[in-house]
């Protein structure tokens, strides 16, 4: 009996030895680094990058109204650390962090774009590892719905009167 136990122990040790080895490394995310420096060197991304993200167009509203609705909704989700109305760009530290671009009106429609800044959850000292791999998806629609609610609440729905 003792021999069987000894053999089993030896076998399990061999199997464990063949398994993957874990290398533990303490690292820093770009996000944490930005907090440590109070965002001093952080540059908001260009509008051209943000337009690669999800978008929705808003009609029957001025640029100022859409901008205002976007700011009010984004500031409910996380701290806005960069903003420029001239560039139309906002960066909010939501999860994942988001860059938002409010595009000037085209054909009577103002388009709002959202781009997730997942790169802020990559390593600083180890090359290119994504640190947070799961982010809640499908939140863009929720964001746009809330901007829409903020924008059109209390307004007459002008499209209902077209043709009258």
């Amino acid at each position: 009996m003792r021999t069987i136990f000894a053999l089993l122990s030896l076998f399990s040790l061999i199997v464990a030895g063949c398994g993957p080895q874990t290398r533990r490394v303490a690292t820093t995310s770009r996000m944490a680094q930005l907090f440590a420096t109070d965002f001093k060197d952080f540059k908001a991304p260009d509008a051209s990058l943000i337009t690669a993200g999800a978008s929705r167009g808003f009609e029957n509203a001025t640029y100022d109204e859409v901008w205002e609705a976007t700011v009010v909704v984004l500031m409910q989700d996380g701290v806005i650390v960069r903003s420029s109305k001239d560039a139309g760009v906002l960066v909010g530290l939501t999860r994942p962090p988001r860059a938002v671009y409010v595009e000037p009106a085209r054909a009577g429609r103002i388009r709002v774009y959202i781009y997730s800044l997942r790169e802020l959850y990559t390593t600083v000292d180890e090359p290119g590892w994504q640190l947070v791999t799961y982010f809640p998806e499908g939140k863009e629609d929720d964001f746009f719905d809330r901007v829409s609610g903020q924008l059109y609440a209390g307004k007459k729905w002008k499209y209902l009167y077209v043709g009258q």
Partner: protein, 159 residues
């Protein structure tokens, strides 16, 4: 019969004790906005000054956007509060400006991710890092403190 008396006495005592306990009935709501009869320019400069008065640090400000991001110490022992201030420009024909204040509590958790390095299939790379979270602070007094100080500067505001 005696047992029943004792039981009902116990229940009564329990009800009394529960009644005396300080059970909160409602949480105070965070004040997020207040209207001021003042110019945007005046509110902007006063808001920046109010942040300084509250021992805060302005992290970013953009006048064109009307947005200020700042860090205000809520309590020396407590967590830092990150605060967003948005000063809405008045609509044409309207003299009132609305100021929005949203405070967030910032806290750090311990995050871990696993990766397999290229060329090293038998090695798991376990990365440990400070994971950053924000929680909208519904009970923070920073919003009210900010708006009250701003009101002292600018004049009567309306919630």
């Amino acid at each position: 019969m005696n047992d029943m008396k004792q039981a009902s006495l116990g229940i009564m005592l329990g009800v009394f004790c529960a009644g005396c306990a300080n059970i909160p009935t409602a949480e105070s709501c965070m004040e997020t906005q207040r209207s001021f009869t003042a110019s945007f320019e005046d509110l902007w400069s006063r808001s920046v000054r109010t942040v300084e008065d509250l021992q805060g640090t302005v992290l970013a400000q953009d006048k064109s956007a009307g947005v200020i991001a700042c860090k205000i110490p809520y309590d020396a022992k407590g967590p830092e509060e990150y605060v967003n201030i948005y000063i809405q420009r008045p609509n044409a024909g309207d003299r009132a400006c609305c100021v929005y204040v949203v405070p967030y509590t910032f806290f750090v958790g311990r995050g871990q991710t696993q990766h397999v390095e290229p060329g090293k299939p038998k090695e798991i790379l376990l990365l440990e890092f400070d994971d950053i979270y924000f929680r909208k602070d519904h009970l923070s007094e920073i919003g009210s403190a900010f708006l009250d100080t701003l009101t002292d500067y600018v004049g009567q505001g309306k919630s």
